[in-house]
């Protein structure tokens, strides 16, 4: 059945695929996750604020991002970010931003909207009395958030946050639209060069499956390990 296939192409290209492609994919995933969770948490705190000046813009931002297709945002930011960068540094013209950094910024901004909604639910899951207890002891808003509310919210939401990260990991393959070479992109290059499309796509699918499946197993383990004792 596999007579017409040449799976040797995998062996020949595997080093390149992981060294170039997977490194890009994992670096992008890790950076977008970190940035997205930090920015998303801040957005969540803003959305839950009683001040309209904070909750209105945060709400608008999250709703905008969640209403747009990711591919569109990747493209849009790829062309927009150099202009914004130029405006920030006051250059008056677009600055050079590589595909990698453009992707990091895009994914951070985009995923932050989703992480925000997760963290918002997490913060809301913490009883009001916990905040009261913090305030009653004389702790400030930031101390109460940082020491009492967020650590618990984070733990409660850990499985959902990591599930979202697994989705992010898969979504990073969309960077092909700005000609960045991630794991899938590297495989596609090899596939086209050697005309081994089925073999390469199958291999890529297996790798994505193994990594995502292992990660979701890890999530379950973490959940048991870090659950708050009640």
């Amino acid at each position: 059945m596999f007579a017409g296939f040449d799976f040797d192409v995998i062996q020949r290209s595997v080093l390149y695929l992981f060294r170039e492609g997977m490194t890009f994919t994992l670096t992008l995933t890790a950076m977008a996750m970190t940035g997205g969770i930090v920015f998303g948490t801040l957005l969540a705190m803003m959305r839950l604020s009683s001040y309209a000046i904070l909750n209105v813009p945060a709400g608008a931002y999250v709703n905008l991002m969640r209403s747009l297709p990711l591919v569109l945002v990747i493209f849009w930011f790829y062309f927009l970010v150099p202009w914004i960068g130029g405006w920030i540094v006051g250059a008056g013209q677009p600055i050079q931003v590589g595909a990698f950094w453009s992707a990091v910024i895009t994914f951070t901004m985009f995923e932050a909207a989703y992480y925000c909604e997760i963290m918002r639910a997490g913060i809301q899951s913490i009883a009001r009395g916990q905040v009261w207890a913090g305030y009653a002891l004389g702790l400030t808003y930031w101390q109460t958030m940082g020491k009492i509310v967020l650590p618990q919210a984070f733990r409660n939401m850990l499985p959902v946050l990591l599930t979202q990260t697994i989705i992010l990991f898969q979504d990073t393959s969309l960077v092909y639209v700005i000609s960045a070479t991630d794991f899938l992109g590297a495989a596609v290059k090899v596939a086209n060069r050697d005309y081994r499309l089925v073999e390469m796509y199958t291999f890529v699918a297996v790798v994505y499956f193994i990594l995502s499946f292992t990660a979701s197993y890890f999530v379950r383990w973490l959940q048991a390990r870090f659950a708050v004792i009640r």
């Binding site: 009261w132 207890a133 002891l137």
Partner: protein
């Protein structure tokens, strides 16, 4: 020590506190009672600004709680508060629960804070539970830790918001005993509770609230011996003969 002057509070159009006037002197133990929904928990939460109020003034130790010039965090750190549902921080060990504000708010070193926490845990009879998480303790034990957490800040007064209402009956006394001990030492206390036995034994004064109003504000003897209002008489007959 704590003085309420014409305090009124609304939730939208619904008035939860109506012109409340009273005061708690230094070293005094005042029990606040009344039917549920009468505003007693709200009243006590106004003392440290957990609940804002729209009219009137509360003066704590010479400072107005609602004034812009008041450093609310500093004022709160001087008033201990114990909640109905304990509100220990479940992700921290017992000692860390008591240490946290000592370190963050009072600027004590970890060693100083831990020494203080252990002394207080010993006092509430829980030193062997220092390294457990709140979830591993019974309700009564958790509430005693919560009292220790409040005391660790060397407060000038303690507020208790129905401290025994969430407890199983057999655990109520261990908490009330700690509170009685505190009262005997001269701690200024404001206690929202339905424990009329505790009120009779420990309180100097009783405030009775109904529909957001302070209906009676009398010495403990007078309140239980000759309540003046019909509402207080009714409340007492319900709560004492059930």
């Amino acid at each position: 020590m704590i003085e309420f002057k014409n305090v009124s509070k609304w939730y939208d159009t619904f008035q939860v506190l109506k012109n409340c006037n009273t005061k708690v002197d230094k070293g005094e133990v005042v029990v606040v009672c009344g039917p549920s929904g009468s505003g007693k928990s709200t009243l006590i939460k106004c003392v440290n600004g957990l609940e804002p109020f729209q009219q009137g003034e509360i003066i704590v130790n010479g400072e107005s709680v609602s004034a812009n010039a008041t450093n609310l965090n500093r004022l709160r750190s001087k008033i201990g508060m114990v909640f109905q549902s304990f509100e220990l921080f479940p992700h921290m060990k017992v000692t860390d629960n008591i240490n946290l504000a000592q370190i963050k708010v009072l600027g004590r070193s970890v060693e100083e804070a831990t020494t203080k926490s252990m002394t207080l845990l010993k006092r509430v009879g829980l030193e062997e539970h220092a390294h457990k998480f709140p979830g591993q303790l019974s309700g009564g034990q958790q509430q005693r830790v919560a009292i220790a957490r409040g005391l660790a800040m060397d407060p000038i007064a303690m507020l208790f918001d129905e401290p025994t209402s969430a407890l199983d009956p057999e655990m109520i006394n261990e908490v009330l005993d700690v509170m009685t001990g505190l009262a005997k030492e001269g701690m200024t206390m404001m206690v929202v509770t339905h424990e009329m036995g505790f009120a009779k034994r420990v309180a100097h004064r009783v405030i009775f609230m109904d529909y957001g109003e302070i209906v009676e504000d009398a010495t403990t003897e007078d309140f239980f011996g000759k309540p003046r209002s019909e509402r207080a008489v009714q409340f007492l007959s319900k709560i004492l003969h059930h």
